[in-house]
Symmetry: C2
Subunit: 335 residues, 2 copies
């Protein structure tokens, strides 16, 4: 579906003219919000470069609302609030607005959000998918609605996708814990019905094997604080020396369990968390954690969506942003 | 504009039939999603009570999307994330969906969000207003779009409004601090361009006067963490013994300032915060704080909006939910 000869796009003109894409778009529409002199300069440049929006692109453009939809599974989860905020920053930089829906991890709610967004004039959608909505998402994609999946992926999908790669962060974390002999490790896994839950758990197990460790205790949790709390209590009961939380919300549950049990993190027990947020910094011993670089992920996802909206084929349809380990003070050394 | 003889509404029928408003609505539309027996029972009851939707209500109903818009100034702020989540719970209980926009405290962004929502088929809007958008909100209200203001109010507006009343919580807090002799108090005020910022600051000053205290140091901040951080450093420099944060985000900034300065909260310095969230519980000494009962506020705001959408005049057009002081361990006693 890639055009044989790539034509110059609004972005190409914007780069050459040294103005924003929104300004080029307005100048080509002869919008008086752009100074006449600038309008003429941009129109001349577009003609020179051979810019010619095709009928479809023109039709799309004329019905554009400059608004995108963003669908996340939670807003109480600071990670997704940060993702939405970063997506909005990226959109505002090109004069686009964002409307948000929260599926509460409920595929029925997600399905009706997608229906509403697709039928009420958004130019494109960035969605944290649920595998229960795969057919509907594939259908929107086939109907050429600009669509990007973020954070989680759908197995065997060709929808453009931006996710984080858990491997670098988790491998480094397990190696660090093995070096500090903070063993046994207790891993709190996210739901295996999500790509993130599965991939992180597989990576944890592989990293343990590579570090020469026998199988370590795992608690199959979810993406809520109470599951982290229950899992931490369960793993503490099994005698683990480290609690390794597989997402943000379970990290909070782990903190709650340690707090209630009077366990001092980094002294009585080691803790490793997921994602950055003030709660994890403002502890007597700031948490060592795996950071997903959520702002970068959001900006990349927006860039891909923006290219699709502009009628371009994105260069990369599958992007993985590496996780990194941020080492702080929550790992104790057992001699 | 109140109808002379109030007719029974969907809610009245629902109460008498012992079913949800959504079920009544569906039964009257002869929707097969409701069991035939129930449909007939509800239709008979509606006839008996003389229920007759007027043409306007019918027209509105037929174009309804069962979707409301919610406009908040931040999602990184846990207080607003909790508000949105509670609004969504209330809406889902009557089969309505929620779409969300985040103004980032920017009146221009808020204005275009309102435009988008109003022109793209939401049945009503719940908005944390910005005083810079007062005219636009009044205009939407005049055009009879169901609209409820929440958290902040507009001076002299007749738009239905649900806010929290800072007085009980702040008065009790100041009295407690005076009793513990945790003086001088340093108050971090929200922006005086918001009703919440003004009302809390006025209440703080009055409460100090009533407790027989001379004027206490005040820092005029905002609703962001870095303003709490700067304000706390400034007030610590002035020798205060208590840091009293006037909102959630500045409470986080206060924690950050104490953390960096190595001040132990509840031992070296007293801290009192605003709003409940895990970060404030999971401290060596959990924070004493003023709780706004955000879930109750959200549910009341939704109830008012829902009445407006159903074509009823709400009983209360101005609701204040009292704040409460939650006493924990972050106040030290100075002898």
């Amino acid at each position: 579906m890639v055009p044989e000869k790539p034509r110059p796009t609004l972005k190409d003109i914007a780069l050459q003219a040294g103005v924003s894409i929104a300004t080029v778009s307005r100048a080509l529409a002869d919008n008086p919000a752009v100074m006449q002199q600038t309008r003429e300069r941009i129109q001349a440049l577009a003609a020179e470069l051979g810019y010619l929006p095709n009928a479809q692109a023109r039709a799309l453009q004329s019905s554009r609302t400059n608004t995108i939809g963003v669908v996340v599974p939670s807003l109480i989860n600071h990670y997704f609030a940060a993702m939405v905020t970063a997506l909005q920053d990226a959109a505002e930089a090109v004069d686009m607005a964002v409307i948000i829906t929260n599926s509460n991890e409920n595929p029925t709610v997600l399905a009706s959000s997608l229906d509403f967004l697709a039928s009420h004039g958004v130019d494109g959608i960035i969605c944290v998918p649920d595998e229960g909505c795969a057919d509907q998402l594939e259908e929107l994609h086939r109907r050429s609605l600009p669509l990007v999946l973020v954070d989680r992926e759908l197995p065997a999908s060709t929808i453009p996708t931006v996710v984080s790669d858990p491997e670098p962060g988790i491998r480094e974390a397990v190696a660090l814990l093995a070096r500090h002999n903070a063993l046994p490790l207790g891993y709190l896994s996210g739901p295996t019905g999500t790509s993130t839950g599965r991939h992180r758990l597989d990576t944890f197990r592989q990293a343990c094997a590579e570090a020469g460790l026998p199988e370590q205790p795992v608690f199959l949790g979810g993406y809520e604080q109470h599951q982290g709390f229950e899992g931490a209590n369960h793993l503490i009961g099994q005698g683990v020396k480290t609690l390794f939380a597989g997402d943000s919300m379970m990290t909070i549950g782990v903190l709650e369990a340690c707090h209630r049990a009077g366990l001092r993190i980094g002294e009585d027990i080691s803790v490793i968390g997921f994602d950055s947020q003030p709660l994890f910094d403002l502890q007597p011993r700031p948490l060592t954690l795996i950071d997903q670089q959520v702002e970068i992920m959001a900006h990349r996802a927006f860039d891909v969506l923006h290219e699709l909206i502009e009628g371009k084929q994105p260069q990369d349809r599958y992007l993985r942003i590496p996780t990194t380990l941020i080492e702080r003070e929550s790992i104790r050394t057992t001699s």
